[in-house]
């Protein structure tokens, strides 16, 4: 069965040489509000690098990540993601949101929820099959969620929910990962686990953009740290 994709594919050519992320004089803001949250952003991020976004509450970390995920219109400027316009290469970009619009009471099992991470590859009308189920089971196993696979999603603790979302984000199999406070609500024991998973991704050559106020990742994890203050982005320390 032919896949009827949700989105156009990345336009045929794969542009392996282009950087993971390019911001050119970008301004971001929410509809309804007059002033922009962020403006004059310039950034080039090569593939395989991982960076941290730091900043106070409300400084715009989440806003920045949303714009890359295609959830926010640009006010100005241009973002190119893996050499394409925003929204063209969604199966190459995975996003772990901070604020969740999720209906936790929806009757869906952990297993089936994680499977939604593969929908982008299935497109319209195709149903998840054996291959997909196997991939999901592996991810659940990696994040020690296998024993919870049959539970409804509202029967998980906050930290488990966070890992569940991380699992879905990983299943997406993207080259660029946008993680908004991935350690939020994750307890100490599982932090090590998540850290390991992220290091694994880095080793695989994935590009990571992580918003965080934690420095739990360990000294050498990030290739660069960027701080958001007063609506603009500055690099901090040396790479």
């Amino acid at each position: 069965m032919k896949t009827l994709r949700y989105h156009a594919t990345c336009g045929g050519h794969h542009a392996h040489e282009s950087p993971a992320l390019v911001f050119q004089n970008v301004a971001l803001g929410y509809p309804g509000a007059d002033s922009s949250v962020l403006s004059g952003l310039n950034l080039t991020l090569d593939r395989g690098r991982s960076i941290a976004l730091l900043g106070d509450n409300g400084s715009g970390k989440s806003t920045l990540l949303k714009s890359i995920a295609g959830l926010l219109r640009l006010r100005q400027g241009k973002i190119s993601v893996l050499g394409h316009a925003v929204g063209q290469c969604h199966h190459q970009v995975a996003y772990l949101p901070q604020h969740r619009d999720i209906d936790w009471d929806f009757p869906i099992s952990v297993q089936r929820f994680v499977l939604t991470g593969l929908y982008i590859h299935l497109g319209w009308f195709r149903r998840p099959g054996r291959v997909q189920r196997k991939a999901a089971a592996e991810i659940l196993d990696r994040l020690t969620l296998t024993s919870l696979a049959e539970r409804r999603i509202n029967e998980l603790s906050g930290g488990q929910q966070q890992r569940l979302l991380l699992a879905r984000t990983l299943l997406h199999g993207a080259d660029l990962l946008l993680l908004d406070e991935p350690f939020n609500a994750v307890d100490a024991e599982n932090r090590a686990l998540v850290r390991g998973v992220l290091r694994g991704l880095k080793a695989e050559g994935k590009t990571l953009v992580t918003a965080t106020h934690e420095l739990d990742f360990g000294e050498d994890f990030f290739d660069a740290r960027f701080r958001l203050t007063d609506g603009s982005l500055t690099e901090e320390g040396a790479p």
Binding site: R5, Y6, H7, A69, G70, L71, G87, H90, H91, Y95, P97, R100, D101, I102, D103, D105, F106, P107, I108, S109, R112, F113, T116, Y119, I120, L122, W124, F125, R127, P128, R152, I153, R168
Partner: protein, 270 residues
Amino acid sequence: MIDWLLDPFAAPFMQRALLAAALAGVNCAVIGVYIVQRRMSFFGGALSHTVLPGMVFAFLRGLDIFWGALGAALATAFGVSWLARRREVGEDAAIGVVLSGMFALGVLMMSQVNSFRDFNALLFGSVLGVAPADLILTAIVTVIVLIAVGLINKELELASVDPEYARVIGARPDRMRTVLLVLTALSVVTAVRVVGALMATALLITPAAAALIWARSVGIAMLLASGIAAFSVIAGLIISYQFDFSSGASIVLASTACFAGSWLARAWRG
């Protein structure tokens, strides 16, 4: 006893009524699972009232009320979406205003006609009115609804549980919402003939709410809700026939009883 149960369905018109009501019930139950879970019950309830002006209009023009109801239902679906998206008023107030206005329009049009016997059937439903053509329309709508849900259930589910992620991967939750509204409109319209405009709400909400107390997945909820709806229709029609009760009210109360049973069982188990 068996006779008592089967007797009502001896005549072809009762068989048609049974079939039409059961199909409508299954329809509504399937869509109702999404409506209840997404907290759109008010919208479902409003829809069943706002079909009134369309039905009356079609009736006065001598058209099949199906098309009138469908037109009004779709108008409501798009009208409420549009009004609520503008944010001058909240969605629930928008629904309330549209509901009241359209219903009053329907009543006004009814008051211009002399005989309201025909409108009692529109408002409260009638088993006598199910013509073979209605049955065919209902069957077609059921097929459309079930196929549509079968095809895009994956996306409907995703758009319901995590609309933001659906947007990120391009599965268009806003378009899914519109599809859901249209499917709801179709389902309500099929239910109107037998249970009446005012009680179609019940077929949409009650079986689904009863099923969602227990169900651990959408699929199971839909099956359970359909079962409850079908049972309510059969039980309701038998009771209505044997005790000369209003058919629509009997069906609705049968489903309310199912809900009460389901709820009590749950509350009991804790």
